[in-house]
């Protein structure tokens, strides 16, 4: 799959994080969208249903976990990743929608090329499902 066919939604209230991860992903050719809250993220999910959605955990309104659960009900085809500063094991609800410990990215991601590989991998795996 060509990267331009992969869309990524970044949900993080820290613009700096959206910018630096976004810039890297754009350079890779992905289509990148950003949202600074779970609520805004849900609106974008409803409109575009991205290939991959990367969400922060601590967000101003609903938290990352809650956002993913709601987003999944709107767009079950997307693959969801949590991007958080604290070690975290996905809750039972997140397990139920197929998320594992591998889908938790610990901040800061030292090398974004690994994130790119992960996005490509899950984008392909998501297709096969």
């Amino acid at each position: 799959m060509h990267n331009e066919h992969i869309s990524v939604l970044l949900v993080d209230d820290d613009r700096m994080i959206r910018d630096c991860v976004g810039a890297y992903l754009e350079d890779e050719g992905f289509r990148v969208h950003g949202a600074d809250s779970g609520e805004e993220g849900l609106a974008i999910i409803a409109a575009i249903c991205p290939t991959v959605c990367i969400s922060d955990m601590r967000l101003p309104g609903i938290n990352g976990e809650e956002f993913i659960i709601q987003a999944h009900s709107i767009c079950p085809a997307a693959c969801y990743l949590l991007h958080t500063g604290m070690p975290y094991i996905p809750s039972d609800e997140l397990h139920a929608i197929g998320m594992t410990a591998d889908d938790v990215l610990l901040k800061p991601v030292h090398d974004l090329s690994k994130l790119v590989n992960k996005i490509k991998h899950i984008a392909v795996a998501g297709r096969e499902l």
Binding site: D27, M86, K107, P108
Partner: protein, 443 residues
């Protein structure tokens, strides 16, 4: 006529006899009473003698009991007169001062326990004004150990008025427990702060790391958007790269990334360490665990500043085929960090002439995982070695060690993990801690 007079005489005689008899009887009764009284007096005299004896015995017993009570009390108790001269001491005083009661009597108390002389100046005033005086937290270095005492002076009244009782207590343990509580609270606060701070620092750290990576990529020739932008502003990307190379800017960017990764490792180690215990047991690779603890030790502020951890040579000899061990990471980290810190502290003594070295080994022993941590520091004598796992036993200065580190380590290894921990050591030859852990945790 004669007959009549004879009868009269007989009658008179009879009468007299009767009267006499009555008198005799009366007197006899009186005598009997007197004897009885005598007897009673004698009895009561005897009885009071007995009572006196009993009273004396009771008195003696009371005295003995009182002195027993005084001797049993954990406090040093001394009675002094207005001039501060000793007229009564308990056993604890003799043990404390090393002076026998017989020698102490009549002596100035100040001359017997001179390190309390400042507090003893209050004696006269206490007796004068009949108000007790209280002093706590008096520091006194008894040989190697710094001890804390409290000293109270009470005025006596009644028969012994004009005198005072002095009570001295060793409150060292109490002060230490308080210190440990403060320390524990501090650690918990630091743990909480570390977790909060880590979270706050991760985002800016992410921006530093990732933007450094973005900069590298945006001056690369592999991305079409870069070539397009260069063409638009009329520069050659190759020339830009050549310039950046010549001025060492690629190196700077590399350094920014390396520094960022290092900072992020410190944060994640701190998080690992402050992680709650309920995370539970995991299957752990001992080599990775030891490496992480070493890294943690290297970033510990105290270790860096006081013991210069980086100057210590680390020798790792990890068994290649060791299976993972089921354990609670945070707890074992605490144990290992404590032993490594102790080793670093022990080797920081000025007398250490050989280059400091810590050897870490892992292996299997009788079906259990074995971790050995050996230093080449000053080691310890047998008396110290036998006591190292005792709570509150510390060879460090007050405030440096709580004396709890190794006892907590002992309880984590033996009680929480059903393993064993022991130490081999000889003065001048360093110390070696050996921890054995079952591969699978018993529930």
């Amino acid at each position: 006529m004669l007959q009549i007079s004879l009868i009269a005489i007989l009658l008179a005689l009879l009468l007299t006899t009767l009267v006499l008899r009555a008198r005799v009887r009366k007197r006899a009764a009186e005598l009997e009473r007197e004897i009885e009284i005598h007897k009673r007096t004698e009895d009561s005299l005897l009885q009071s003698e007995e009572e006196t004896r009993v009273l004396l015995a009771v008195n003696e017993h009371l005295k003995k009991s009182l002195s027993d009570i005084l001797d049993t009390l954990p406090s040093v108790i001394v009675r002094v007169d207005q001039d501060g001269r000793v007229d009564l001491v308990n056993l604890r005083f003799e043990q404390f001062s090393g002076i026998s009661a017989a020698k102490a009597y009549g002596m100035l108390l100040e001359s017997l326990i001179p390190h309390f002389s400042a507090q003893l100046q209050q004696i006269a005033e206490v007796i004068d004004r009949q108000i007790p005086a209280s002093n706590t937290m008096i520091q006194y270095r008894n040989g190697k150990e710094l001890n804390y005492y409290s000293l109270q002076i009470y005025p006596l009244n009644g028969e012994a008025s004009g005198k005072a009782v002095i009570r001295i207590d060793d409150i060292t343990e109490h002060v230490r427990v308080e210190e440990i509580m403060v320390q524990t609270e501090k650690m918990m606060m630091v743990g909480g702060l570390a977790a909060g701070m880590a979270h706050e620092i991760n985002n800016p750290l992410g921006a530093i790391l990732q933007h450094a990576q973005n900069i590298e990529r945006r001056v690369s020739t592999g991305i079409p958007a870069n070539l397009k932008a260069a063409e638009e502003v009329g520069v050659s990307l190759e020339l830009v790269r050549a310039y950046l190379q010549k001025r060492g800017i690629f190196d700077f960017i590399g350094h920014i990334r390396t520094a960022g990764v290092r900072a992020s490792d410190i944060i994640s180690n701190m998080l690992q360490f402050s992680r709650c215990r309920e995370i539970g047991v995991e299957y752990v690779d001992l080599a990775a665990l030891l490496d992480r603890v070493l890294e943690l030790a290297g970033t510990d502020y105290d270790m860096k500043k006081k013991y210069d951890f980086r100057r210590i040579e680390l020798q790792r000899d990890y068994a290649a085929d060791l299976p993972t061990v089921q354990l609670t990471v945070a707890e074992l980290e605490q144990v290992l960090l404590n032993i490594i810190k102790n080793a670093a502290q022990a080797m920081a003594v000025p007398a250490q002439c050989r280059p400091p070295r810590i050897s870490l080994r892992t292996g299997l022993s009788e079906g259990m995982a074995l971790i050995e941590i050996e230093d080449n520091g000053p080691g310890m004598d047998e008396a110290t070695r036998l006591r190292v796992f005792e709570p509150f036993f510390s060879t460090k200065e007050v405030g440096v060690g709580t004396g709890l580190g190794l006892s907590v380590a002992y309880s984590i290894v033996t009680k929480e993990h059903h393993g064993s921990i022991e130490v081999r050591s000889r003065p001048g030859e360093g110390s070696c801690f050996a921890i054995k852990l079952p591969l699978r945790r018993r529930s």
